[in-house]
C-alpha cells in the first residue's frame, strides 16, 4: 500500500512541476523584457521615509 502511496506522491510532484512549467511557458518572457526589468530595478527611485 505504501508503495502505491509513494508512487502517487512522485506522480503528483511531476504533475505540479508540469503545470508550473506550462505556466512559465505561457508567460514566455523575452530577453528584451528581462532587460527592461533590469533597467527598471536599477533606476527605480525609492520614496523617502
Amino acid at each position: 500500500m505504501l508503495t502505491y502511496f509513494l508512487l502517487f506522491a512522485a506522480f503528483l510532484l511531476l504533475a505540479v512541476r508540469f503545470l508550473k512549467l506550462l505556466r512559465l511557458k505561457r508567460r514566455n518572457l523575452s530577453n528584451a523584457e528581462i532587460d527592461q526589468h533590469l533597467h527598471a530595478l536599477l533606476n527605480e527611485k525609492r520614496d523617502s521615509p
Partner: protein, 311 residues
C-alpha cells in the same frame, strides 16, 4: 574655448542586451560591469550573470529530481510483492523519462523567469556594485585620469539612466578631440533639461559623425531653440543640425520648420543636397520648403554651376 586633447578610447563591448554586460564574482558575491576579467579581491574569473542565475536554477531542478528519485526509491524499497516491485520500478522509470522530457522542452522558459527573479533578488547588490564603480570614477577624476573616468562612466551609462551620468559623460567628452573613427554617442547623452555643454558636444559631433543626429536630437534642438540661440554662433549650430537632418526624407518632412528657419545657416554642400531633395519631392507638401530653398539659392548661389538647373 577650452583646449581639447587627442585620445584613443577603449573599444566598448557590443552586446544585444544590457544584462550581458554584468559579470559576477561567485566567491565575493559582487558584480562588475567594466572590462576586467578577474575579480580584484579574490582573483577568480568572472562569470556572466546569466550563467550565475542558471546555476541557481539548475540546483533547484536538481532538488526536484532528487525528491522524485527519493519517492521512487522508497516506493521500490517498500514493495511487498514482486508485482509491486515491478510496478514501482516501471512507473519510476517512466516518471524519470517524463521529468527529463519536460525539462528539455520547457526548461528554457523556467530559466528565463528564474533569471528575472534572480535580478530582483540581487537588486541591492547590483546597485552597490554600480555605486562602487561610481566611486572609482570619482577617484579617477580626482587623480586626473579623465579618459578612464569617461570609459567607466560610459559603461555605467548602459545601466543608469540619469542626467548626472549623461552630463558627466558630456563634460569628459568635451575635453577631447573627437574623431571619425571613435565610437561616439549622441542619443544616449540627451539630458532631460537644456544643457549648454551638450550643445557644445553636438557642435563637435556633427563635424565628424553627422549620422548620429537622429529624431530625438532634432526634437531637443527644436524644444530648446531659444536657449541655443543665446550661445555663441547658436544660429550656425542649429543650421548644422538642420543640415544633418537632410540625411533622411522623413526628418525633412517632420522638421521642415526648423530647416526653413535656419536655411541661411546651412553649409553650401547641405544646401545643394536640400535643393536636389526639394526638386524631387516638391509636390509632397514641401512647397514652402521649395520656395525657401529656391529663394536662398537665387540670392546666394545664382552663379554657382553646381546649383544650375536644379531648381
Amino acid at each position: 574655448m577650452r583646449k581639447r586633447i587627442g585620445v584613443q578610447f577603449r573599444k566598448t563591448r557590443k552586446t544585444t542586451h544590457t544584462y550581458e554586460r554584468i559579470q559576477a564574482c561567485t566567491r565575493c558575491h559582487t558584480y562588475h560591469v567594466l572590462w576586467e576579467t578577474h575579480c580584484e579581491t579574490c582573483g577568480r574569473t568572472y562569470t556572466p550573470i546569466r550563467q550565475a542565475s542558471h546555476a541557481v536554477t539548475r540546483r533547484y531542478v536538481q532538488t526536484r529530481f532528487l525528491l522524485l528519485g527519493l519517492f521512487v526509491c522508497l516506493a521500490v524499497l517498500s514493495a511487498d510483492t514482486l508485482l509491486q516491485l515491478a510496478l514501482a520500478g516501471g512507473i519510476g522509470c517512466v516518471l524519470f523519462v517524463l521529468f527529463f522530457v519536460m525539462q528539455k522542452k520547457y526548461g528554457s522558459y523556467e530559466r528565463d523567469v528564474q533569471f528575472q527573479h534572480f535580478l530582483t533578488r540581487e537588486q541591492e547588490t547590483l546597485k552597490k556594485s554600480l555605486l562602487r564603480h561610481l566611486e572609482e570614477v570619482g577617484n579617477d577624476v580626482k587623480e586626473g585620469h579623465l579618459k578612464e573616468a569617461y570609459e567607466k562612466t560610459r559603461e555605467l551609462g548602459h545601466f543608469i539612466d540619469s542626467d548626472t551620468i549623461k552630463i558627466r559623460k558630456i563634460m569628459f567628452l568635451n575635453h577631447y578631440v573627437l574623431r571619425k573613427d571613435m565610437e561616439l554617442e549622441l542619443e544616449t547623452l540627451i539630458p532631460s533639461m537644456y544643457d549648454k555643454d551638450f550643445m557644445e558636444y553636438v557642435r563637435e559631433v556633427i563635424k565628424v559623425q553627422p549620422s548620429l543626429v537622429k529624431k530625438s536630437v532634432l526634437q531637443y534642438v527644436r524644444r530648446y531653440k531659444n536657449q541655443i540661440l543665446l550661445l555663441e554662433n547658436g544660429d550656425q549650430l542649429i543650421g548644422q543640425v538642420a543640415g544633418a537632418a537632410l540625411r533622411m526624407k522623413s526628418y525633412v518632412d517632420e522638421y521642415q520648420d526648423l530647416i526653413i528657419e535656419f536655411i541661411d545657416f546651412l553649409p553650401r554642400e547641405r544646401l545643394l543636397r536640400l535643393a536636389k531633395m526639394v526638386q524631387t519631392h516638391k509636390d509632397e507638401g514641401w512647397e514652402q520648403l521649395y520656395h525657401s530653398t529656391k529663394n536662398r539659392v537665387d540670392t546666394h548661389y545664382a552663379f554657382d554651376p553646381d546649383f544650375k538647373g536644379i531648381l
